[in-house]
């Protein structure tokens, strides 16, 4: 009987706390959306050739800006 009571109290408490967290967080989001200015996300520079840019940056980093990629060949 004691075990069943403990199970009931435990599960009800866990559900209650998580429901409070869920609805409390929704309320928090509502308040922040209403009173805090929206986050400004810096626009990323668009590039058509991302892998090549990454390779070029890696080569520049390793060679201290002296190296340049001339040609990239797929081995297999």
């Amino acid at each position: 009987m004691f075990g069943l009571q403990l199970m009931l109290i435990g599960m009800v408490t866990v559900f209650a706390i998580l429901l409070i967290v869920i609805y409390g967080s929704r309320f928090l989001v509502y308040v922040i959306n209403k009173f805090v200015p929206a986050e400004v996300v810096a626009a990323k520079e668009k590039s058509d050739n991302v892998p090549m840019d990454v390779l070029q940056q890696a080569v520049s980093q390793i060679t201290g800006g002296k190296g340049h990629i001339v040609n990239v060949t797929k081995l297999s």
């Binding site: 866990v14 209650a16 409070i20 989001v29 959306n33």
Partner: protein, 415 residues
């Protein structure tokens, strides 16, 4: 001056070999240590935890090494070298170190005092991103359903003769949260700390094996193919977060306050988890604290926790029926927690238009983020485009809060 034979006899007695031959049970402990090392090193199952635990088991079981943690009886009495008994709680730390070796000093100073689990929780908080949960708040409720295993095993353990405190410590393994299991056991049944910690961490390490087993037994292929992104498109969420950074900073403060008001016994865990998360989310202003909490301090705590927990697994403490019962019961708690999360999703799907992949329920237990990664692997196996990681993380992170709250309830009723 003794004969050559006497000298060799003394040399033989000096080694651990003589004691091992006299009590071969040590060999079984070496096998367990090697098995855990194999899982950690070769299989890469939670190596950061299993390797220190396994090495702790190994060094604790060399007779004469004084690296095994001594087991106090139910009154806290331990035998001293002169044959007298003394309460371990009345002994100063330097005396513990002198009488029983450095590992006992570390164990009583760091583990038995309850210091390390909250510190590890702080590190976990610093490494956790609550973003996926905040974006899918409804899914967090499955973190509550998955705590059922804790209480179901508690009930069964009571029925087969464990004390309420022991049963609660055994059940908390189902929370799949090592620090929570240790913290609860220290408070309720400290004499069971070794086997419970080993069971909790071993099963956490075996998440990639246990979750697929339970999922396969309970879910159909059709259910596992439920695509959450498509469901989101069909039934879009009506809540947009315009300033996620502000939400993420206020969230840990709000959760700590709510939990502290309702379940104060959970504050050492939830409070430290949220503090770690807060110093992460604040950003540059607290970046030095974040670096320390998530790297240096966390790693130091993990090393000492792993070694000390392993060192509690001495042959005389581990090789008995009760320990084997704990290992079996821990598995049931773990599997039941996964199953109850899945079952709640199935019930949800019966009444809701927007269907949820049952894998989201399977990750309602803690074990962040491995449980989510494993479930994402299962879903992509059935449909390579169906990535459920972010959705699983929502219930997975809620599971950390849920298991800490469950631990708080058990401690306040039984502590």
């Amino acid at each position: 001056m003794g004969s050559i034979g006497d000298i060799f006899q003394r040399l033989y007695d000096m080694t651990a070999i003589s004691s091992i031959i006299a009590d071969p049970s040590f060999l079984l402990m070496y096998l367990i240590a090697f098995g855990l090392l194999y899982l950690g090193v070769v299989k890469h199952y939670e190596p950061l935890l299993l390797v220190p635990i396994a090495f702790g088991v190994l060094i604790a079981n060399f007779p004469g090494g004084e690296m095994g943690v001594i087991q106090a009886d139910s009154q806290g009495l331990v035998p001293l070298a002169d044959g007298t008994m003394e309460s371990i709680w009345d002994m100063p730390l330097h005396k513990i170190a002198h009488e029983f070796g450095i590992m006992n000093y570390l164990y009583y100073a760091l583990i038995k005092s309850g210091l390390l689990p909250p510190i590890i929780f702080m590190g976990v908080g610093a490494l956790t991103d609550f973003g996926p949960m905040l974006r899918n708040l409804k899914l967090a409720i499955f973190g509550a359903a998955a705590q059922f295993g804790i209480f179901a095993v508690l009930l069964v353990s009571l029925a087969i003769g464990f004390t309420p405190q022991e049963a609660a410590s055994l059940g908390i393994i189902g929370g799949a949260d090592g620090p929570t299991a240790i913290f609860t056991t220290i408070k309720l049944a400290p004499h069971l700390l070794g086997p419970i910690a080993i069971a909790a961490y071993s099963y956490m390490a075996l998440v990639p094996v246990i979750i697929p087993l339970v999922v396969k037994a309970l879910c159909s292929e059709k259910e596992l193919k439920i695509n959450m992104k498509e469901q989101d498109k069909l039934y879009p969420q009506n809540m947009e977060i315009k300033n996620m950074r502000a939400v993420k900073i206020i969230f840990p403060i709000a959760v700590t306050t709510i939990v502290a008001l309702l379940v104060p016994t959970a504050v050492p865990l939830i409070g430290m988890l949220m503090f770690g998360n807060l110093i992460k989310e604040i950003g540059a202003d607290t970046s030095r604290l974040f670096q320390t909490a998530s790297n240096g301090l966390m790693n130091t705590a993990t090393i000492f926790l792993g070694l000390c927990v392993g060192a509690t697994m001495t042959s005389d403490a581990f090789l008995n029926v009760k320990t084997l019962g704990i290992v079996a019961g821990g598995f049931c708690a773990f599997a039941l927690s996964i199953a109850s999360g899945i079952c709640m999703v199935k019930v949800w799907n019966l009444i809701s238009k927007k269907k949820i992949n049952p894998l989201v329920g399977a990750t309602g237990l803690s074990a962040v983020p491995m449980a989510s990664r494993v479930c994402n692997g299962i879903s992509t196996k059935y449909d390579p485009k169906n990535h459920v990681l972010n959705y699983c993380m929502a219930s997975n992170i809620a599971g950390v809060i849920g298991s800490a709250v469950a631990a708080g309830v058990l401690i306040s009723f039984l502590g």
